[in-house]
């Protein structure tokens, strides 16, 4: 069997296995790729909340343009149509009917819902006190509001319940429906049934909203129709958009990169067969990379494939070196240097493997597997397959021109001292803040979309929930009971002015046990009448007037307990569903807290809540979502910087072993470090706060740039091996390919991809330039 057949058979076998793995792999595009794999319990809760918490279901739909009446009409029509749509748990536009249903529910079931219902409350003394309070409210400016209820609810339990609900953030109302504070946009709040992971479900819900808007608009006069427009925002919108973006970008960026690089190579090689052969290691690498990630992780993330574009940039280099630097002595002259280059790159990517961020770990594995596969194919398959008569355009002449240019540039290498000093000075000037401190900088959502979301959230009066108590229990009933027990501890904090308010699922549907004990507190009609007669002594009304009150108490006393079905059709039901969630292995009740004035809780308030949480015998934890997220990010950033430093040390160690000369290691490393320094300075000077992706990008500059520096090193050390003009020609071609691949990535609308591209593309260009300038004087034979 010839070498070509053996190589081809092995390659085909490997490729076949990889292809099978790739086809059967799971692919995901959700937003969690940049959230931690390994985390503390608190961080897991945080991620769960970001992923599936109440906020993750909320879509804010804003209708703008036209006049207020038209907006309200469309809003009402849409809401009514979509209320029966199974895509939504709830959809509300704040119309009067909804408000009435909510109030009716609270009023109807007040003696089961109010935490003030105890046996003492219904003694003569308790009733006297309660009714006196009720009369005080009746005499106050709020009197006209409670007057219609007073004879049925003289202790004003309904008011107490309404006050205990944290409704201070309800949206404004214009023309009878929710609107932005200035009235210019009508607002609809929709809660999708599909949660974080179910992007298809979320997409269906968004499509239903758009279709509902189109149908509602069609009812209007043509002149008004065109004036109105619909804007959607919220986590489901982001999830759907980011999947679409990732899908289209991965495809588009890969195609553009591939097309540009193919054009470049065709221009260089002037040979279609050689171009086709060049793509073999690249394609093999990509296949091996995806297969490795599929084996190493539960699902391959779409962004990993996006980052994978970068692999084209590096693995195509190997074939370029193979074809341009005289293929016949490849094994002896090119391969040792290339092998060292591959190893340094692998060192660089290997530090990503232990990263807690799934996306980066996947990128690391993908790249390592891809590069090794591409290098092996270049070493063992290409030499066997390439026909002896394959002709690549002779690049000797342009190579010589490059050599002369390099020689001239080397005379100006003193400039680099100035570059280094200038870059260091710039970094020093921008040292605070050098790094972005917010987790949001890792989000694949564009800044414009974030701004829109913030505006709509402010409009709807639904600011991001920052503080959340999460109560966990084995089953629903226990979670509700625990939430109720905790609520009892939190309520005094509101009265003491420590806390502005909180929400709890137990406010809408108390645990059965709680309901039973409240119901048992209610006296019979006969007893109540007797006690009332006593209680009303000295008050400005007689017991006879309160007959409706006695009737209502008797009705509750003999009626069934509340169940979830009673919440149907109210917006309270929606709140309940959002606050009591299944979270394996049990159930979680969520209690969002709000500060007294708008803004954050004071440290004392946080402390008070913590001790309240600790005083209840339930499994509960106070989460500061933003603080926790930023702490998480700070940890990542520290990790990333530490990992990058480890990678750097590993690369230097590898070079020291391979080159056995401190001077040569310094020669190789100097242009790379200088390039990293310059890129960091340029980024901060252009107003970027550095993110983790920039740090990773700098590591890649070192990993990729080391190939260039090593070839310069070899040219200087072993003048007999290979020709300097051809090396230069291959380096420039390889660098152009890399710059194209990363440069295209730099134009991505996904921030994480753009950050990486805009760091690596100019960085590798500078690395080549600096490596050429700092190379040792070529040996005498090359100078001749």
């Amino acid at each position: 069997m010839s070498r070509a057949v053996v190589a081809g058979t092995i390659w085909l076998l490997c490729a076949g296995i990889a292809a099978v793995i790739v086809v059967h792999a799971h692919y995901s595009t959700d937003l969690s790729a940049f959230l931690p794999r390994r985390a503390t319990a608190t961080q897991r809760l945080l991620v769960e909340q970001l992923h599936a918490g109440p906020a993750a279901h909320l879509v804010i739909a804003a209708i703008s343009g036209g006049d207020a009446a038209a907006r309200a009409a469309v809003s009402g029509y849409m809401t009514q149509r979509l209320r029966t749509n199974p895509s939504f748990i709830a959809i509300d536009d704040g119309d009067e009917a909804q408000l009435q249903r909510d109030r009716a529910f609270l009023f109807e079931h007040r003696y089961l819902l109010s935490a003030r219902v105890t046996p003492e409350r219904f003694t003569a003394g308790g009733l006297h006190e309660g009714i006196t309070e009720g009369l005080d409210v009746l005499a106050s400016p709020a009197g006209p509001l409670v007057k219609p209820l007073f004879l049925r609810d003289p202790t004003l339990e309904t008011l107490a319940i309404i006050e205990s609900l944290d409704a201070s953030h309800a949206p404004h109302t214009t023309a009878g429906v929710w609107s932005s504070p200035d009235g210019a946009r009508a607002l609809i709040l929709a809660h999708t049934r599909a949660s974080g992971g179910d992007i298809d479900g979320q997409q269906a819900a968004l499509a239903a909203l758009r279709a509902g808007f189109a149908a509602a608009r069609a009812v209007l006069a043509p002149a008004q129709r065109t004036a109105l427009s619909l804007t959607l925002s919220g986590p489901p919108v982001f999830a759907v958009a980011s999947r679409a973006t990732i899908r289209s970008q991965v495809w588009r960026l890969s195609s553009i990169s591939a097309a540009c690089i193919a054009t470049l190579l065709l221009a260089v090689y002037r040979s279609l067969p050689v171009l086709a052969m060049t793509l073999v290691p690249v394609a093999s690498g990509a296949l091996a990379g995806v297969a490795a990630v599929a084996l190493g992780f539960p699902a391959v993330h779409g962004l990993t494939l996006g980052f994978g574009v970068t692999l084209i940039g590096e693995s195509v280099d190997y074939a370029i070196y193979f074809f341009i630097q005289r293929a016949h002595d490849f094994r002896r002259a090119v391969w040792p240097t290339l092998r060292l280059g591959v190893l340094t790159s692998v060192c660089g990517f290997a530090v990503l493997l232990p990263s807690a961020i799934t996306g980066l770990a996947q990128l690391g594995l993908y790249s390592i597997a891809g590069l090794i596969a591409a290098a092996l194919v270049t070493r063992f398959v290409l030499p066997a397959w390439v026909p002896r008569n394959a002709k690549v355009r002779d690049l000797w002449a342009p190579g010589e021109a490059l050599e002369r240019l390099a020689g001239r540039m080397q005379r100006g290498r003193g400039v680099l001292v100035g570059v280094a000093l200038l870059a260091a000075a710039l970094l020093y000037l921008h040292r605070d803040p050098l790094f972005s401190r917010e987790l949001a900088s890792l989000s694949p959502i564009s800044a414009a979309d974030m701004q829109l979301d913030e505006r709509l959230r402010a409009d709807s009066g639904a600011p991001d929930v920052r503080y959340l108590v999460v109560v966990s229990a084995a089953d629903r009933e226990s979670a509700l009971a625990a939430a109720g027990a905790l609520s009892a501890r939190l309520t005094p904090l509101i009265d003491a002015g420590v806390l502005g308010g909180f929400a709890s699922p137990s406010q809408f549907l108390p645990a059965r046990e709680t309901q039973e004990s409240r119901r048992a507190s209610l006296p019979t009609a006969e007893t109540l009448r007797i006690r009332l007669a006593q209680a009303l002594i000295g008050l400005p009304l007689t017991a006879a007037r309160l007959a409706p009150f006695v009737q209502d108490v008797e009705r509750t006393r003999t009626a069934a307990l509340l169940s979830e079905a009673d919440l149907q059709g109210t917006s309270l039901g929606r709140a309940f569903d959002a606050l009591l969630v299944r979270s394996p292995p049990g159930w979680s009740a969520l209690l969002p807290l709000s500060a007294r004035s708008s803004g954050d809780l004071s440290p004392q308030a946080v402390e008070a809540v913590r001790s309240a949480v600790a005083s209840v015998a339930v499994r509960a934890e106070l989460l500061d979502l933003k603080g926790e997220a930023d702490r998480l990010y700070a940890t990542y950033l520290r990790d990333a910087v530490r990992l990058a430093c480890c990678g750097l040390i590993a690369i230097v160690a590898l070079l020291a072993i391979a080159l056995r000369s401190a001077r040569r290691v310094l020669r190789v490393m100097a242009p790379l470090l200088l390039s990293v320094l310059t890129i960091a300075a340029l980024l901060v000077a252009l107003g970027h706060a550095l993110t983790i992706l920039h740090v990773i990008g700098m590591l890649l500059i070192v990993a990729v740039g080391s190939n260039y520096a090593l070839f310069f090193d070899r040219a200087a050390r072993q003048p007999g091996e290979g020709s300097v003009p051809l090396i230069l020609a291959s380096l420039v071609t390889a660098n152009l390919a890399t710059v194209i691949a990363f440069g295209v990535l730099g134009f991505s609308s996904v921030p994480v991809l753009a950050d990486l591209g805009s760091t690596v593309a100019p960085g590798t260009l500078l690395a080549l330039l600096f490596a050429a300038m700092l190379a040792d004087r070529p040996a005498p034979s090359a100078q001749a």
């Binding site: 309070e133 009369l135 005080d136 409210v137 009746l138 005499a139 106050s140 400016p141 709020a142 009197g143 006209p144 509001l145 007057k147 219609p148 007073f150 004879l151 006050e163 201070s168 404004h172 109302t173 214009t174 023309a175 504070p181 009235g183 509101i494 009265d495 003491a496 002015g497 400005p540 009304l541 007689t542 007037r545 007294r596």
Partner: protein, 201 residues
């Protein structure tokens, strides 16, 4: 409609914010047609007021009237505050179009524009305090009687929808000093707010 009644009650009270006692020199006799103009002129000159009040409410659901008392504050042009002290402390503040109720540590704010039916009332009552006749007559039929020494202003809502909750507001006073505000609700309930002494700063 309950919100309207609420806003009227609130602002009826606020309307009674008395001003400085009239200087002696200004006590000239006035004829009817110009007295109203004069009154509005006087009212508009007032920049600040801080007085005590007592309020009596007759409600059909109760057998006896309800009493409350406290302080009223006004700062031109649009800050009004009613501090009820008895029988139960409650603070009500209208400022920059926001109505804020504070009881104990609980505070609740609503924007006036969220109550589209109440907004004209509040705006017009504020206008009375500022002496803005045009704004006043946009929402009420105004009947003035008496003279600057002893006057009565009867306000009847123009909008029939509003008239369903408030039938009539009757304000009486002497010079630029308001003495009583009576609010007659359409369900027969009424309240009388009586202004007491100035509270020195």
């Amino acid at each position: 409609m309950r919100e309207v009644a609420f806003a009227c009650a609130v602002l009826g009270c606020m309307l009674t914010l008395g001003g400085r006692p009239l200087p002696c020199a200004a006590a000239e006799a006035a004829t009817d047609p110009t007295a109203f103009e004069q009154l509005l002129q006087r009212l508009s000159e007032r920049r600040h007021g801080h007085v005590a009040f007592t309020e009596v409410q007759q409600l059909s659901i109760l057998d006896q009237p309800l009493h409350s008392s406290g302080e009223l504050l006004y700062d031109a042009p649009d800050r009004l505050e009613k501090r009820t002290l008895e029988p139960r402390a409650e603070d009500l503040l209208l400022e920059n179009g926001m109505l804020t109720v504070e009881r104990g540590h609980r505070r609740r704010s609503v924007a006036l524009q969220d109550f589209p039916q109440a907004a004209p009332f509040i705006e017009s009552l504020r206008a009375t305090l500022a002496g803005d006749r045009a704004a006043l007559e946009r929402y009420f039929t105004v009947h003035f009687s008496g003279n600057i020494d002893q006057w009565t202003l009867e306000l009847t809502p123009v909008d029939p929808l509003l008239r369903r909750s408030v039938r009539r507001i009757r304000i009486s006073g002497e010079h630029d000093r308001i003495r009583t505000v009576e609010i007659h609700q359409s369900d027969g309930d009424n309240s009388t707010l009586t202004i007491g002494a100035d509270i020195p700063p």
